[in-house]
Amino acid sequence: MADLVVEELSMRFGGITALDSLSMTVEAGQICGLIGPNGAGKTTLFNCVGRVYQPSAGSVRLGDVDLLALPAHRIAYAGVARTFQNLGLFPSLTFLENVMAGAYSSVGGGFLKSILRIGIAAQERELEARAHRLLEMLELDRHAFSLAKDQPFGTLKRLEIARALASGPRLLLLDEPAGGLTDSEVGELSELIDSLPERFGVTVLLVEHRMAMVMGISDKIVAMSYGRKLAEGSPEEIRQHPEVIASYLGGAA
């Protein structure tokens, strides 16, 4: 069953066409790798799905929810969570609080409830415990009370993953999660991401330039170039695809 369905999605910025009638689907519980040369439009796709940008045309559906019909702050409630290519953390919150903030959409309580503190304590305790577990899972527990700044890039990227998972998402968009990690650390992270669909029941859309990771864990890969879909298929097929090799992999693969 297709979980994420992107159809004919186009996005233009002035004269630049970042997405050009892109269509793709991701099955529930799959890990889909998204690759393509720099500026191909991968992050733009994330931004359209995440409602940061209003696409010029096309549709994006998650299950039977039309994501483009929702305002940006409703996306999380529909089950979308993401990480950012160049970090989108809350630097004056601690690691723990960042993860708890990530769970914003999974609990209730507005101004009044917060001010009066009705039924908050238990909820907060539970949230905190959950956040601790996520930090532990990403080996960030010793940073729980540090501020989410002044830390190495790789550490912060992992924190983003923990934060994204905190809302219990249905679709997880990971934008270059392996930035700042050594090859062996990439291996560990790959294993972790690989386990996510099973442990959390999420569908993962993964943008990454580290081929070891993408090829290793993707159930399928979509290759893009200039906002269009270049190829789609299993890692093996993509690795052999001549256009992908020419425009993206170069001699490296």
Binding site: L89, Y104, S106, G168
Partner: protein, 361 residues
Amino acid sequence: MAVLPRDIPRDTHLFKALRLAPAVATVVVVLLIPYVLPTYRISQISGACVMALAVVGLNLLTGYGGQISLGHAAFFGLGAYTTGILIATYDVGWILAFGASVVVCFVVGVLVGMPALRVRGMYLALVTLALGVLFPSLVRRFSELTGGSLGLMGIRVDPPDIAYFGGPTANILWQYWMTMICLGLGCLVVWNLVRSRTGRAIVALRDNERAAIIMGVNRTLVRTTLFGVSAGIAGLAGALFAVQTGLLTPESFSLLVTIYFLVAMVLGGSSTYWGPILGGFAIYFIPIWSSDVTGGPISGVLFGAVVIALVFLMPSGLVGLAKSAAARFVTFSPVAPAPAEPDPSGEVAARRRELAADRVS
């Protein structure tokens, strides 16, 4: 011999006790003040607390929310005039009048918060500044209601008829308690808010608006409500001011007052719990102290110099200073989380879906 700094794990009773200590100490001091201090000190403390309360409100918006407001004197004034008019002209009871101040300021705050959705940083500061500058002129313009330049007089709240408020200092004591209750309430509102889901949303919006929205934060709602709550608290402070002074003139709500609020917030330590209170006291007592010391216009120079010096000595405010001093004696280490239970995330996802069903569709 204990080695400094001493480490205290976060799950111990000692840690919890230390966390509570300032609050407990404050309660004790508040209770003791009427018995140990001369009356004029009590009324000074009430005055400083009014300042502190307004700064608590400003800190919520500017410290935690990151939206700089140079117009808080206007909310302060609006609250003061609402209470003043209700009490002096319409003879309304103080609780009702205070409530009205909060509500009026909340509503106006929400309205003023609307531009804040589009306009940011320096630009927002200037919009609010304009409001602050305009407020005294508006008071003068609506002089039938407000008494205009000549002032609004006769704002009096008599203490309840109980033995405690029997002596000649009844009024001052009564004002003291009124102030303490309001300040306590104001702090409680802010503290509860900040420690909650909404509080994290407020700070998240400040730190990274885009990311916060993606986490599900409704920017419009949070920003405008935040403006409203902050204005409401400033309005409550204004209401107290009206009762304490007994007289309102538009000059009392000039731009200088906003600047004092801002100075107090930063001096105390912005986006901290205790900062606004310490800062409010500092900004109230420094001019008194500096004019006592120098007894002349030079005290203004001294005041300016003290402000600059304090910024340099305590870049993160009084609270920051206290924290780093304390860090030389104790540190708090994280504790291992409770042993991992079966992964609840499936459950979380299910609940989120419930919420989504409520809210999305």
